[in-house]
Symmetry: C5
Subunit: 91 residues, 5 copies
Amino acid sequence: MKIGIVTGSVVATRKVESLRGERLLLVQPLGDDGKPSGDPLIACDTCQAGPGDRVLFEGGREAAMALRHAYNPSDASIVAVIDDVVEEEKL
Amino acid sequence: MKIGIVTGSVVATRKVESLRGERLLLVQPLGDDGKPSGDPLIACDTCQAGPGDRVLFEGGREAAMALRHAYNPSDASIVAVIDDVVEEEKL
Amino acid sequence: MKIGIVTGSVVATRKVESLRGERLLLVQPLGDDGKPSGDPLIACDTCQAGPGDRVLFEGGREAAMALRHAYNPSDASIVAVIDDVVEEEKL
Amino acid sequence: MKIGIVTGSVVATRKVESLRGERLLLVQPLGDDGKPSGDPLIACDTCQAGPGDRVLFEGGREAAMALRHAYNPSDASIVAVIDDVVEEEKL
Amino acid sequence: MKIGIVTGSVVATRKVESLRGERLLLVQPLGDDGKPSGDPLIACDTCQAGPGDRVLFEGGREAAMALRHAYNPSDASIVAVIDDVVEEEKL
């Protein structure tokens, strides 16, 4: 899982049946230093996350496991809204 | 899921049985700024997308879930035609 | 799916049972401009492709779906021999 | 599997049901030379690993296989605490 | 599948049950020119490979298909020891 921040949403009328009713959020992955790292992606929401929330998101087949339909074609899901990141070991 | 734009199609006579009847579209992934980012890929169409359409596409095993045969070997599918992207949080 | 060109083959006597009888071809991925892009990989053949053929290949779990044994450990398969790529939208 | 070092943990109250009870650890991947390489990720713990431990972690669908719920949406798990890495071949 | 060379092994006492009895080998991926390319990874052995052997290894869910337990959490396996690579097409 990676850490990202919700920055917006996507509106799509024509979509595959199994994505109907899912909220599609725009997520910007964050790097080591808490700054944007890499291209944004679109993830299905499972935690009522909103713009500005720091979230844990997942990629690949397992993302769909978090959704109502396990055979959903989604390849990215938000699985937690982060309260805090505790760093104990300095490298 | 990532955002891309349909730029063309692929013609292939010799192909695996489970890809017969699927439209194979050429998709250029788009980055943060809406400009091309990375190499184009070939995705199966599920939404009657055409050249110039901005689409959501997916990679990995879940891509096949969007197709008629779930055991299709496809590793990329177009799952939505995008109407609008709403950015609410500026980073 | 990505576009690549078949450049050779791999000979291996000691291999896992489920790969026996599969042809292992060396594939060079091609980028946007039709030039080599990234490291070559080894893919199982399903379309009687040969050296010089431009092919569609797939990665991940779905690659095995194209083979005789769906529980094959292969993570890359050639699923089509390309006749033509039609680019309609210029970016 | 890749080698990483545990550097901290993540606290999340709102999360998907199947992640409840799993410890979410912050892992920094290590490169060839034992130095940090790439962005940190969040992995579920299966070996009572703690900050400073050098661990083997896994990504993708197989990560969930190590957890109590195989249909867990986790895409990264710690599967071993490393005692020693023996390098026998110099490149 | 990719080509790599076995450079050593990993010793781990605390590990998930399904990895017990599997040999964990250190593999350095090789690029186009036969030189090291990218970070080394840890793969389960299925072919009695040893240090110095050039091998085919696989990543993702399919890697576990090569092992005794298909629900093994491994995400990388050695599936063949390479005898020869025949390059027929020059790019």
